[in-house]
Symmetry: C2
Subunit: 189 residues, 2 copies
């Protein structure tokens, strides 16, 4: 096998991964990142975020040649016209994507070759909270269920350890389970 | 003005909105919702969620004729190939979209005609946590900043009250600030 084949595992360049980890250990300041999104209301429940630049490794990252545009909406029952997934569904997607990427990276680091990673997420909500009808139910999901099916060239026990470690290191899992301080500012013309 | 013009405000059908609120007050059971996402790993940091069905108002909602497909990825510095926004950026989008929709709906209910709602969100992270280099920094954002610019045909004070009420009722703001219990299950073939 070529050197390239040896270092790429699960689509992740493990040589670059370990070099990145070594660099961050030596220079912790390069680990400071800031991600961003700008959002603009279009009409009704339709709004769109633009995501492009971010701060990383001591400077502004300009590697993205154009912005990602992502549309949100609501289904008819929640007074929208289905212009995109709704915000709570995007939160489930963020959680699924982060756990999945963490699983793939942890597996790559541990020399586990994966063949498939699939998940189904559910979030249960009493919309009386968010609609302001009742103060008792919380606004958001009462609970989130995540069901993974993971396969690869490793014993089941090893695959489970990969998922466990990935969960313990996932950025979005941490935020969704533990919460994050959010500061909201408002300006009007 | 026609009846239609009177009931549609900010793109929201307020007649339908108030009818929905009345129905939920009378029959709290219809307020039980379950949202879902299924996710599939593609390669490396690239994975895709499919979002379509959900449970609402006492039954399965089948109003969406096809699924939304949304792609996640990572930029090169985080070992991906930019196949989509990254999971933490999607969390910022979810928060922006939910606060914006809440602002639009609250304004509609309060007879405030909006002309623009724009926001910029930032999330600060020390990636040593998520990369497993150091146990000290948390995995997710240490803090999130949300900066709104809201304009409409109402005094600034009224617009600020709308944002305040929307923040107090936003589903994703609640989840991101307070956290949600998440149960993770794993199956292997």
């Amino acid at each position: 096998m070529s050197a390239t084949t040896d270092t790429i595992r699960n689509g992740v360049d493990t040589e670059k991964m370990f070099a990145t980890l070594d660099l961050i250990k030596e220079q912790p300041a390069v680990a400071r990142f800031q991600f961003r999104a700008t959002n603009r209301w279009i009409d009704g429940a339709h709004n769109r975020s633009s995501i492009q630049g971010f701060y990383a490794a001591g400077g502004e990252d300009t590697s993205r040649s154009e912005a990602f545009a992502i549309d949100a909406g609501e289904p008819a029952i929640l007074l929208g016209t289905d212009t995109g997934p709704n915000p709570a569904e995007y939160l489930l997607h963020a959680l699924a994507a982060c756990l999945t990427t963490s699983i793939v990276y942890v597996a790559a680091a541990r020399k586990v070759q994966l063949t498939s990673v699939e998940s189904t997420l559910t979030g249960d909500m009493d919309v009386r909270g968010a609609l302001g009808v009742d103060d008792e139910p919380r606004n958001g999901f009462e609970r989130i269920g995540v069901s993974f099916r993971v396969n690869g060239k490793a014993p089941a026990e090893k695959l489970r350890e990969v998922v466990e470690r990935a969960t313990a290191r996932s950025a979005v899992y941490d935020m969704v389970t533990n919460g994050v301080p959010v500061a909201v500012e408002v300006a009007t013309d």
